[in-house]
C-alpha cells in the first residue's frame, strides 16, 4: 500500500466516524487488471476498500449530483447527505463546475485533493498488446509489467500509456479541497497544450472531414461518453428529445454527427479535459479532440480556462466589455 492510499483511508475513517460525512466516494480495485471501479463507503469499517494508484481514471464528479437528488417517491422530510470525495485536479475542476451550475452544494461536500501524476489509459495498454487480451498487470514505479492472454510478458513505460488528457494536463492538483493528501506531483506536462488541436487545424477541410467520418462511423450510440461525463447531467438529453426531435436513433453518419457535435457545443466553456469520455468509449473514439478545439477557442478568445475557481466567473456565462465580439454581424 502506498502512503497516499494509507493516509486517505485514515482520513476517510475519521470523517465517517465523527459524522463530517455520511458517504465517501472513492476508487476501489476492479476484478480486471488495470481497472478500478467507483466505490461508495458508508462506514469506517469499509475504508480498506479504497485504493489510490495510477489507474484511478474515473472522474468521480460524475457520481455526485445523483447523491443530492431527493429519492423518487420518498414522502416527508429529506436532508441531503454530507458527501466526501477524493479528487484529482480534473475531478476537482468538474466539481467546481457542478457547484457553479448548482448541481451540487458546496457546503455538503468534503473534498480530499490528491496530486496526480497522470493515469494509465487502458486502451493504450491494449493497443501495446495487439490483438490479445490483458491477463495480468503490475504497476511498478514508472513502468507497468503486463502479461497478455497469450502468456507473453512485456514491460511498458507508464509515460507511453498515459491517458492523452493527462499528458497535457496543466492542473495536477485539486483546485478546490478541504484537505489534501500526499505530495504535490513532480512531473510537468510533457506535451504542449492543445498539441493535438494544432495538428488537426493544420489539415485541409477535406482531411478533417475524413478524419471525423472515420472516427464517428465507429460510434455505436451507447452514450458511454455522455454518461461518464460530469457535465452531462441533463434530465433529458437533446439526443433523446422527441418534441422537437433533433436527431434520429440510427448510426447513420448524420445522426451520429448531430449527437457528437451537439454534445461538444453543450460542453463549450465547460469541459475540463478529464478524458472520461475517451476512457469510457468502447470503440476508442478520440472525442477529446472536439472538446479541446472548443477549449482552445475559449482560451484564445476570452483568456480563460474552465472551472479553476469558485469565485471567478466562467467565460461563457459572463460578459465583459472587452470580450471579443468579432463573431457578431451587423443586422
Amino acid at each position: 500500500m502506498n502512503q497516499v492510499e494509507e493516509t486517505l483511508r485514515q482520513e476517510v475513517a475519521k470523517l465517517l466516524e465523527d459524522g463530517t460525512i455520511d458517504v465517501f466516494v472513492g476508487h476501489e480495485a476492479a476484478s480486471l487488471p488495470l481497472k478500478t471501479s467507483p466505490c461508495f463507503v458508508r462506514s469506517p469499517k469499509e475504508v480498506d476498500r479504497l485504493v489510490w494508484n495510477r489507474i484511478c481514471t474515473s472522474n468521480l464528479a460524475t457520481y455526485l449530483p445523483q447523491l443530492f437528488k431527493r429519492p423518487v417517491g420518498l414522502k416527508g422530510e429529506w436532508t441531503p447527505p454530507k458527501v466526501g470525495v477524493v479528487a484529482k485536479g480534473c475531478d476537482s475542476r468538474s466539481i467546481v463546475g457542478l457547484i457553479k451550475e448548482k448541481q451540487i452544494p458546496r457546503d455538503r461536500l468534503f473534498i480530499i485533493g490528491v496530486g496526480c501524476e497522470g493515469m494509465i489509459d487502458r486502451h493504450s495498454v491494449g493497443r501495446a498488446l495487439g490483438v490479445v487480451g490483458l491477463a495480468d498487470a503490475k504497476v511498478d514505479g514508472n513502468s507497468v509489467q503486463v502479461i497478455g492472454t497469450d502468456g507473453r510478458e512485456k514491460r511498458i513505460d507508464i509515460a507511453d500509456v498515459l491517458a492523452a488528457s493527462c499528458r497535457e494536463c496543466q492542473h495536477r492538483e485539486a483546485v478546490l479541497s478541504n484537505l489534501t493528501v500526499g505530495e504535490a506531483p513532480s512531473s510537468a506536462p510533457e506535451v504542449s497544450h492543445y498539441a493535438n488541436v494544432a495538428e488537426f487545424e493544420s489539415k485541409s477541410p477535406q482531411e478533417r472531414w475524413e478524419h471525423w467520418v472515420g472516427e464517428l462511423s465507429r460510434c455505436i450510440r451507447c452514450y458511454a461518453c455522455r454518461q461518464a461525463c460530469p457535465n452531462c447531467y441533463c434530465e433529458e438529453c437533446f439526443a433523446e428529445e422527441t418534441a422537437p426531435k433533433w436527431l434520429g436513433v440510427t448510426t447513420d453518419l448524420s445522426d451520429v454527427f448531430v449527437f457528437h457535435l451537439g454534445r461538444a457545443f453543450h460542453q463549450a466553456g465547460r469541459c475540463v479535459d478529464c478524458g472520461a469520455c475517451v476512457a469510457a468509449c468502447p470503440q476508442g473514439i478520440d472525442l477529446r479532440l472536439l472538446n479541446q478545439k472548443i477549449n482552445k477557442d475559449v482560451e484564445e478568445l476570452f483568456e480563460a480556462q474552465v472551472s479553476l475557481s469558485l469565485e471567478e466567473a466562467e467565460a461563457l456565462s459572463s460578459f465583459r466589455m472587452e470580450d471579443d465580439q468579432s463573431f457578431m454581424t451587423e443586422p
Binding site: Y63, P71, Y223
Partner: protein, 340 residues
Amino acid sequence: MLEMTLDKSKVQEFLRLLGQNRRLFAPVKDRMGTKFSEVADPSLVCLDGLNTNLSLKEVVFPQWETLYTFEEDQANEVKLAAQETLLFGARPCDARALELLDRVFTWEGIDDPYYLRRREKTCVVALACNTPGEACFCSSVGGSPVGEVGADALAFDLGKQLYLRALTERGEALLKEASTLTEKATEEDKQAVQQAAAEAEKQLQPVPIPEDLAALKESFDAEIWEDLGQKCLGCGTCAYVCPTCHCFDITDETKKGVGRRVRSWDSCAFSLFTLHGSGHNPRTTQAARYRQRVLHKFLYCPENFGEAFCVGCGRCITNCPAGLDLRAVLERLGSLAKVT
C-alpha cells in the same frame, strides 16, 4: 460428419473461394483488438485475436434497420432480401449466442421476418479457443471454448493447420465447396484436436452461477442492487457489446409527411427505456435498471427459454466504464441465494 484439415498458408485462398458467392464476415484487426467485419480482402482476416470487441449479432440483428417507409397514408414495405453470408472465425460463445437469439425471434411460434431473413442465409464456421480471453467464463454458463452449438462447422487452430469439422448439412456443403484445398483429417489430427479441447477447457476459471430461480426472485429487494446501481453509469455499452441482448425500440422518423419506421437497439440501462407516455417510469433508479439486466439474463430467460441468456464472452466486463464485473455480481447473488 466431414472432418478435414486446411494448411494455414491456404486460409486466404480458402476464404476467397468461399467468399465468391456470399458475403464474408470475419475478424480483422482494429484499434480495440479485433472486430467482426465484412471483408472483401481475405488477407486482412486475423484469427489470432480472441473475442472481437463487439459481438457479431450486428450481422443478423443490425443496430438499426428500416421496417417500412411511408408517405402520408401510404405504407411501403421494405423488401426482405438477404444475401448468403458466411461468418468465419466466430468464437463458440458468439455462435451459441445466435442459437439463443433464434429462440427469441421465433418465440411462441411468432417469427420475426427481419431477423430470420438474415439468419436463414447465415452459415457459421466457429473457431475453437485455445486460450481464454481476459474475462471469459463460457464453461460456467453452459458453453465451452470448443462448443458446437449455433455453428455449422467448427475449426481448431492446430498451429500449422486448421482442423475443420462440419456440424450441419449446411456446414458440410460449405466445406465441400473448398475440398480442393483441404485434406482428410488423420487420426493424429483428431487426437491433437481432442488434446487442444481438453487444454482449453482446463484453463477457464469456474464462476458460480446462481441457478436457484426461486432464490433469485427473492433477491428482487436485496441491497446488492442499490450497491451495484450506484456504480452503474447508465450507458448502453454492456447491452450493445452483448451477443445475446436483443431489446429494441421502434421509432417513426417523419419529415413533411414522408418517413420511415425504424427499429434500433435499446438498453435497459437507459433511464428512458421504460419511460411511459404518461411520464410515469416504473424503473426509477439505476439500481432497478441494473437489476433488470441481470435478472432478465439469469431469471426471466431461464423461465421463458429454459436457459440463461449469457454465453460468458466477458465483453460487458472488459468494456464497462465503471468496472462492473458480471462474474462478481453472480457470485454475490449466489451467496445471497444460499443465505435466503
